[in-house]
Amino acid sequence: MSDFRPVQMRSPVLTVRRVDAYHAITVVAPGIAERFRSGQFVAVAVGGEQSSMLLRRAFAIHEVKPDYGGTVEFLFAVRGRGTAWLAERRSRDLLDIVGPLGRPFPLPRDPVNCVLVGGGAGAAPLFPLAHTLRRRGCRVDFVLGAADAERVFGAITARRVAETATFTTDDGSFGLRGQVTEVLPQVVEDARSDVIYACGPMPMLREVTALAARYDIPVQVSVEETMACGTGVCMTCVIPVIGDDGITRMTRSCVDGPVFRGERVRFDDVGTIPFDALGAPGWKTHGDDAVQTREAG
């Protein structure tokens, strides 16, 4: 029986390398590697055993390899003291790491055409997905964008793996000048895409989801919400998501996500509690209406 539960490990660092504007760390973590499915992430403790930084840092898993029983690579940009500490790790240092966490990308049963859209470091989880999709006979097209050339991640791999790879930068230093959402319609039409997978900042995911609706194709988005624990207990990474029953709930990105069906995420309400969300001030009225409707029906 397969075991999908996450594990906590003290994993030796294999390599720390610079990749343009980012850092990539590979750790030996067989338990995580064997359970991994595309779209899942790891939560890494930073600062050592008596660290004053209590919150784990969550990073999408970028690559899993069978070497040394199983290795896991994740990508990050140095943004604060925690990521700066991580960037200073060296080979054979130990990292306290929990994973794999989160809902993975659902996979199509049939060999359909998939377009993968990544913004900045959000490209990272799309590469294991691309390999999985290719193995299933899917066509894969990449659209990757970032602020500048340094921040476009994985261009060479994208070109190798995908049927087509399109790049955009805000400053025009690499690929086309502009944003991924400006070139995406053309890619979707040319590739006759059946499905969109996207990972990146919220505004990008909102635009991609709107575009998928225009083409009437499904879209799976992976959100990059800040988390404290990654395991589902702290309740800090919630966003408003519409459930199968039509009710909006403040939903944990870590265990119910990070991958969501795009049209279920209330992008315009992220950062707020929607009035009609479960348990919000307006929910009670909404709930009573629903009861009345049911009774009337």
């Binding site: 075991d3 999908f4 539960r5 996450p6 594990v7 906590q8 490990m9 338990g31 499915r37 403790a45 660290s51 004053s52 209590l54 919150l55 784990r56 306290d96 929990v98 809902r103 993975p104 990308f105 659902p106 996979l107 199509p108 049963r109 049939d110 359909v112 006759r192 059946d194 499905v195 009437d216 194709i217 499904p218 799976q220 800040t226 404290a228 624990c229 395991t231 589902g232 207990v233 702290c234 309740m235 800090t236 919630v238 966003i239 199968d244 709930r249 403040m250 265990v255 991958v259 069906r261 992220v270 950062g271 707020t272 509690i273 969300a277 479960l278 348990g279 919000a280 929910w283 009670k284």
Partner: protein
């Protein structure tokens, strides 16, 4: 071409729930061998036990309830145990204190809900939760099926709501204790009355005690942010509280220097983690000195077995692990192991011998 929706049949169900469904979980908390290997602290054989050759008696009493050991989770830091059961057997710790449950579902506060601070975090979750009905249907039975002891934290907007929650919990089988959350800084204004005003707090305690089944101890959870903590604790004890839990988070604030706005959406949040431990120790110490017969669950920044020991020496009968769980999901069993080792090293035979030992006069052979 693809009019199929994501919910249609061609999606392989890879996006299903990641937590094991209730039915798949072996009752009685029997984890897999692997689980035992990676999280179990007690897997040591007898030969490695302390020099005394005896493993210490870890049992502790909270009112009429005896727990197998004094390590618990703190309310709001462990859900109802389900998420953490992926990392350790929840039946191994003294009890799981659940996230505060309210009568109705509650959406909580808008994001950002937290900010990391030195050795701590600020949070303003706003008691998001599914409400008592879902708790009784889904969360409580799950915990009991795993063999966990359930201490249920309750929160309400009025004394009557607290009383109703106590009634509902008393009708459900398997509730070990009730903890009254009198002190969440994230309750509405009326909630703050309970926090600071001894008379209002006493009234809540009185109605909960009257509504709860007599064999379920009722503990009142207090905040340190009050003008007269000992007065508040005394009022709660006199109103019938079987014990006290302290402390809740301490009001704090951080400002993001990039956005130049408060880092937490509500402005202030509750500070937790090792940063507040000395405050918590002082509170437990003072209240135990004033009310030596009232059992206390101590909490606030417990990170190691030695921290847990510190709370017991100050006067706590049990210790809850909170924010550190976010840092280390298997913290509770690690702390339990470290705590047991600390007792062995000191030749302490019983947890009971430690409670309040720091109050004894210098030279008293507290630990012999």
């Amino acid at each position: 071409m693809a009019a199929t929706t994501p919910g249609a049949t061609w999606w392989k169900g890879a996006g299903g729930p990641l937590l094991p469904p209730v039915a798949e979980v072996p009752a009685g908390g029997g984890g897999t061998q692997e689980e035992a290997r990676r999280t179990d602290g007690s897997g040591r054989d007898e030969a490695t036990k302390g020099a005394s050759g005896m493993s210490p008696d870890l049992r502790t009493r909270l009112g009429d309830v005896e727990l197998a050991n004094p390590i618990m989770t703190a309310a709001g830091c462990a859900g109802a145990g389900r998420e953490l059961a992926q990392f350790f057997d929840v039946a191994r710790i003294g009890a799981v204190v659940t996230k505060s449950v309210m009568l109705e579902p509650r959406a909580g506060r808008p994001a950002p809900r937290m900010a990391e601070t030195p050795s701590g975090m600020l949070s303003a979750i706003g008691l998001q939760g599914p409400g008592i009905e879902v708790f009784l249907q889904r969360d409580l039975p799950w915990l009991l099926a795993r063999g966990g002891r359930a201490v249920v934290s309750i929160a309400g907007g009025s004394a009557e709501e607290y009383a109703e929650l106590a009634r509902r919990l008393s009708m459900a089988p398997g509730v070990t204790m009730i903890e009254i959350n009198l002190s969440s800084p994230n309750l509405a204004d009326r909630g703050r009355d309970f926090t600071e005003d001894p008379a209002a707090a006493a009234r809540v305690v009185r109605v909960v005690r009257a509504s709860a089944r007599s064999d379920i101890p009722v503990f009142a959870k207090l905040s340190s942010d009050v003008p007269d903590l000992v007065g508040l604790a005394t009022a709660c004890a006199e109103a019938g509280a079987d014990g006290l839990s302290m402390i809740n988070t301490v009001r704090g604030m951080a400002i993001d220097t990039a956005t130049m706005r408060p880092a937490v959406a509500g402005g202030t949040g509750g500070l937790s983690g090792p940063a507040i431990r000395p405050i918590a120790i002082a509170c437990v110490y003072r209240v135990h000195a004033a009310l030596p017969d009232v059992p206390i669950i101590g909490m606030g920044g417990v990170r190691t077995g030695s921290d847990a020991l510190e709370f017991l020496l100050a006067g706590a009968s049990a210790v809850a692990v909170g924010t550190v769980i976010f840092h280390d999901p298997s913290a509770c069993v690690r702390i339990l192991r470290e705590f047991e080792e600390a007792l062995e090293e000191r030749g302490v035979a019983r947890v009971g011998d430690l409670i309040g030992a720091a109050h004894r006069p210098l030279g008293a052979t507290a630990l012999r």
